[in-house]
Subunit: 221 residues, 2 copies
């Protein structure tokens, strides 16, 4: 008996991630295409100026198809934000596993954020405009920022436990500070991509890390 | 011979600021009213959603009157930005005159910025949205940021000269860092005014100042 590919993939058993079957692959492809085209159009025309029809036309699918993948246009932003949270989640895994300094994981997270935003300042600007102009979008942002903040705080707590970061401030407060600095870096770069964000972010981080370190360590650095 | 008021004010001589005559006072009042109503409407409806007619109606003047005071709607944002630059200018004057630590002037500048934005998060959001969405507005922002950065750098250079701030980084680079942190603070507060920006900004500043101080001073603090 010959198994066709999708069936073969479906019998891999429960609890194991299925290799994407043909249909799932097709769905994932369309979803990705809609997402990519949406971001491209947000950057080009602006978030509010882009209609769902613009997106489906650019992705070469019927208009109604969009809603099989995203309940609303705002959900594109939510997915984008979710990807950012996933990056912090992976950093926490790294921080738990690393034998080196936890603070290096934080540093990598910073340059990762800059690297990500380097890809398209227009996307970042469109996303900021959408957040600044739309209360429900802002509410979603707050939820994601809270999740990220708790993850960041866990990383910072690990670094505190190892004596890499000063202990007189709570991990959550330090995580909030880190987020504020992140936001300023991404924002100011997206407003003026000609300026070297990478260079500035290094300066900011070096200053911030100096403040984060316990006075004893700071003196030695 | 009896001089009429405008003429009397006009003969005060060159190089001396004229006491505002009745006509000038009237003009200044209308200009201020247009400016205030514009900001109020930006916060309420959004920058792009607010028309010049909305503004003139709210300010109770004819539509054409707007253009006697502001060439375009964007100029409202420029005036707003100009007021921010003026605050930094005054801080530089203070830094030059003070007998106390120059770093206190910087600290006051930080809490001033927070106090200012406390007045209306909606205005800040509308302004960010306008900058994120509109290239000419962004260009103006860059010019103003450059002016502010140079002023900040002068304050920082004074503090370096007095040994209050580390000298291994250039004043301009430290000024850029300061602006990035400012932007992050104002932005994150405008997105979520419920959170205590004042408290967070204090944490950020304490950490940043710790990094700014020369290692010797930092250790002692």
């Amino acid at each position: 008996m010959k198994l066709n590919a999708p069936y073969a993939s479906r019998i891999s058993g429960p609890g194991i991630a299925l290799p994407a079957g043909r249909r799932e692959r097709h769905r994932a492809e369309i979803r990705q295409r809609l997402f990519d085209e949406a971001l491209r159009l947000f950057a080009q025309k602006g978030y509010f100026e882009t209609t769902v029809e613009d997106i489906t036309e650019a992705a070469d699918v019927g208009k109604g198809t969009f809603f099989n993948y995203f309940p609303t246009k705002e959900h594109i932003l939510a997915v984008y934000g979710g990807k950012r949270v996933a990056v912090v989640e992976r950093a926490l895994d790294q921080a738990r596993a690393t034998k080196g300094p936890v603070i290096d994981v934080l540093k990598e997270l910073a340059s990762n954020a800059v690297g990500q935003s380097n890809q398209n300042p227009g996307v970042i600007r469109a996303i900021y405009a959408a957040h600044a102009s739309c209360a429900p979008v802002r509410l979603e942002l707050q939820k994601r920022l809270q999740v990220s903040r708790r993850l960041l705080a866990k990383i910072i707590a690990l670094a505190q436990k190892r004596g890499e970061i000063r202990r007189d401030l709570t991990p959550l407060e330090l995580a909030r500070v880190t987020q504020i600095v992140f936001m300023g870096m991404t924002m100011s770069w997206s407003m003026n991509p000609d300026s070297s964000l990478r260079k500035s972010s290094e300066s900011v981080w070096n200053l911030l890390l100096f403040g984060l370190c316990a006075p004893k360590e700071a003196k030695g650095s």
